[in-house]
């Protein structure tokens, strides 16, 4: 079995199983805890439901916080959108998804894929530069840096494989798939779980404050 066969076969499949099982374990383990009821009288009998809008409204910080947050928010959006488009938009990724699920859709032209991958990597660099330059703001931990590396690796190796830089193509491709496998396996046990938590966390706070008639 070549390295590429290992990456394409057992490695990526095992990582996807860990990904799915890990997400379920962590979500269920937390959400199955009891919830304390708020017995106080709400400000507005039906106002609590308004709290759910925080799930959406918190997608962009309020203007009061602009000066401190705009750089990071813009970069984070660029990173998330570019990465998502690369993950689901380029032909080799679609072929992989098709092999697993049968679903398929037209891919982006190569040059757009490369451009998006580059944008994603550059925005990720822009975020780490800021994190490193303002240590008092971020209070970074080892986990923050490990997560950054694990997220950056698939982007870097993917671009290198496409551009035929570094090792020979098959090796680079294997390294790219292995780095994606690492990301999948790491995701449920790291802060990358925010992909799920943000909905619950925002909704909880939105409801708690809406109960008092406060829109957050």
């Amino acid at each position: 079995m070549t390295l590429l066969d290992f990456a394409r076969g057992p490695a990526i499949h095992a990582s996807l199983i860990i990904l799915a099982a890990g997400i379920v374990l962590r979500l269920v383990g937390v959400l199955a805890l009891t919830r304390g009821a708020d017995l106080s009288r709400p400000r507005d009998a039906f106002g609590n439901f308004k709290g759910y809008r925080t799930v959406f409204s918190r997608a962009w910080p309020s203007s009061e916080f602009n000066a401190a947050t705009v750089y990071q928010t813009v970069m984070a959006y660029v990173f998330h959108i570019a990465t998502l488009l690369v993950v689901i938009g380029i032909v080799p990724h679609i072929e992989f998804i098709t092999s697993l699920t049968g679903a398929s859709w037209p891919g982006l032209p190569n040059f757009i894929g490369v451009a998006l991958g580059t944008i994603a990597l550059v925005s990720l660099l822009a975020l780490i530069v800021r994190r490193l330059s303002k240590p008092a703001i971020y209070n970074s931990t080892v986990g923050d840096y490990i997560t950054w590396i694990i997220v950056a690796l698939p982007l870097l190796t993917g671009l290198m494989a496409f551009a035929h830089v570094g090792f020979r193509y098959e090796t680079m491709l294997a390294l790219h798939i292995l780095s994606a496998a690492l990301l999948f396996a790491y995701m449920p046990f790291s802060k990358l779980m925010h992909a799920f938590w943000f909905i619950f966390s925002r909704a909880q706070s939105g409801l708690a404050y809406a109960h008092k008639g406060v829109r957050i």
Partner: protein, 466 residues
Amino acid sequence: MSATASTQIFPSFEQVYQGLASQIGMLREMAPQPTKSDEKRLQGAIDTLIADTNADEAVWLESCIHCGQCTNACHYFQSMQDAKYAPMRKMDLYRRVYHRELSPMRWWHRLVTKPVKLSDFEEAKELIYDSCTECGRCTMVCPMGIDTASLVHHMRSAMVAAELVPPELAALRMEQKHQGTVFGSSPEKLKEMIDTIQAQAGVHIPLDKETADVMVLSSAVDLVANGNGLLATAKIMNHLGVDWTICSDGFESANFGLLSGDMALWKKQADPIVAAAQRVKAKTVVIAECGHAYPALRWNPMLRSGELPFQMMYMSEFLGKQAKDGKLRLRPLDEKVTFHDPCKTGRRGGAFDEPRAVLEAMGADLVEMANNKEYNWCCGGGAGIFLLQDATKLRDESFKIKIREVNETGATAVVVSCASCRLNFESGRQKNHWDKRVESLVELTAAHLIDNEAIDDEAPARGAVQ
């Protein structure tokens, strides 16, 4: 009966602040020492956190991505620029306990992390008490919407179990627990103050009526230091002609159970108020201008207020409702003022419109601060921090944000509606020789009541009285 008269009967708030400051200094000596073994204190703290952690807390603890957005939103970080004051750091210890005790990954965390020690709680004390007013401003910017203030509150409960409550809060907690008073504000003190107000200001306060529509709470600051607060309240109630009373077995708004994190004491303090209000068949309970009393009574999730036969209103809400209904007849306030939303009644309470309605009824030229209502900067004195000597620098430095915000409005006075905020503003005003006046909403309202046309000629707006 005017503001001029009232300032003659009782000391000015400047003197009130100075008097209280010296009393606060003595609290440190009265603080109780730990009585349990270190093991029991640690276990108590951990057990408290386990008991307090529901899915809400767990989700918030899981959600932090260390994005740093909260850091700049905190007035303590802004003023000190020290990484340790970042709000995200204030839940680190809680998260460590959660990871090892409750998280679905606890088996892993127990393998790779060291057990939490009592010294960890000792180190967290500054973050949990001195540098967090539980104001909730960090929640407003957090992309995950994490309610750090709630988590800090649970940590305070753990600190009670660990016997690590700061000396000032610990002393007042013990006083309220064992004597039922705060700074000696006993029912006798209440009676004395009511008699003084009757004798010297000629204002009647109906104490312990059998039934009343409105039951009014007082607060320790009013009873032992600032008689003007209770006098102003009485004048307004009498002006409105409402059927009101103060009950000597349930009058204290201040709740050092909630402030220290001792929820058993919170209940011990809240229950008699609820019982008194039910006994007098009150339709409304008015909570004195004591910011923390609002979440202690109105919003405490453990108080089944939906089933109570009365509503609870903060003083500013009550005044605002009367103003909106046109029942408050007020002389104009020809002045540019700004309003400071106390965090407990504003962002964490929702009473935004009512205090503004009162100022509007006075025709005041109200100028909002750049960050107002939900986004208001905390004054730095809430959640008991005004009392903490160790937090003096944090408080003084963070107050400079408030000075800047108020100055930018061009207002000549800032109106507050919370005794803690007011004391902290007064402290900041004196220390910085600040040229703004600090007004309490209830006293400002009382000073502008139109009771008797003749009074108008001799008493200028309270703003002019120094």
